[in-house]
């Protein structure tokens, strides 16, 4: 069954290979695409798929869809160093969520002001590179809740 994976934030699409973090750029945890929220003062982070919040850190989360496919959303690069400052969580680990639900809010402009990239990679964990059909091209504007890729 194919799984539609939605943009967690509004912004412009960026190829994963252009993310300034080798773990994402080299697709070590899986293929995907990133969204650049720019310098928005406030961004609502929406569930990319319907499922269970398997992991929840302030700056990163994994939603596990039915069938066990996990989608990782990482809010900015090296943002683990912020220790959660500036991130507001609206759900808890193990909560059931519907695609499009607001999970976290954060400030991309504050992340950028701190010298970090607010790029938000969306990764199909452990997927084969050819399992994704990408619905957007790098540079495209996407709105949170729009499809980024289909995972078959």
């Amino acid at each position: 069954m194919s799984l539609r994976v939605l943009a967690p934030v509004t912004g412009s699409a960026v190829a994963l290979t252009d993310v300034p973090d080798p773990v994402f750029a080299e697709a070590m945890v899986g293929p995907g695409i990133a969204v650049d929220p720019g310098r928005a003062a406030q961004a609502q982070v929406r569930a990319p798929v319907t499922g269970t919040v398997a992991k929840l850190h302030p700056h990163a989360l994994i939603v596990l869809a039915d069938g066990g496919r996990g989608v990782l959303v990482h809010l900015g690069i090296d943002t683990v160093e912020l220790d959660g400052a500036g991130f507001t969580l609206h759900v808890s680990e193990q909560d059931a969520v519907t695609a499009g639900d607001v999970l976290v809010t954060f400030s991309p402009s504050s992340v950028a002001d701190g010298g970090r990239s607010p790029l938000t990679p969306v990764v199909a964990l452990d997927a084969a590179a050819d399992a994704l059909t990408v619905a957007v091209r790098p540079g495209d504007q996407v709105t949170a809740g729009e499809e980024l890729f289909t995972w078959t």
């Binding site: 945890v29 398997a54 850190h57 989360l61 990782l72």
Partner: protein
């Protein structure tokens, strides 16, 4: 040997590990001597990838990073 023990050994043992924390899919480790880090050993212990930048070592282990980090902390 458990996965946590294998990873700790491949990082050069507990005396080489200054700090270790989990970030959702990876272990972020600070080591005293990057020369003691055994990359093939880390991969053999299940790492998908290893990124070494000076004394900072990132071990990509997937979503079980939190659990593995706790297991390593228990060994230290």
């Amino acid at each position: 040997m458990s996965q946590a023990e294998q990873i700790l050994q491949a990082l050069g043992g507990e005396t080489n590990v200054r700090d270790l924390e989990a970030c959702i899919t990876r272990l972020r480790v600070e080591v005293d001597d990057p020369g003691k880090v055994d990359e093939p050993g880390l991969r053999a212990a299940g790492a998908f990838g290893v990124v070494v930048q000076g004394e900072a070592v990132q071990v990509v282990v997937g979503p079980q990073a939190d659990t593995i980090a706790e297991d390593i902390e228990d060994l230290r």
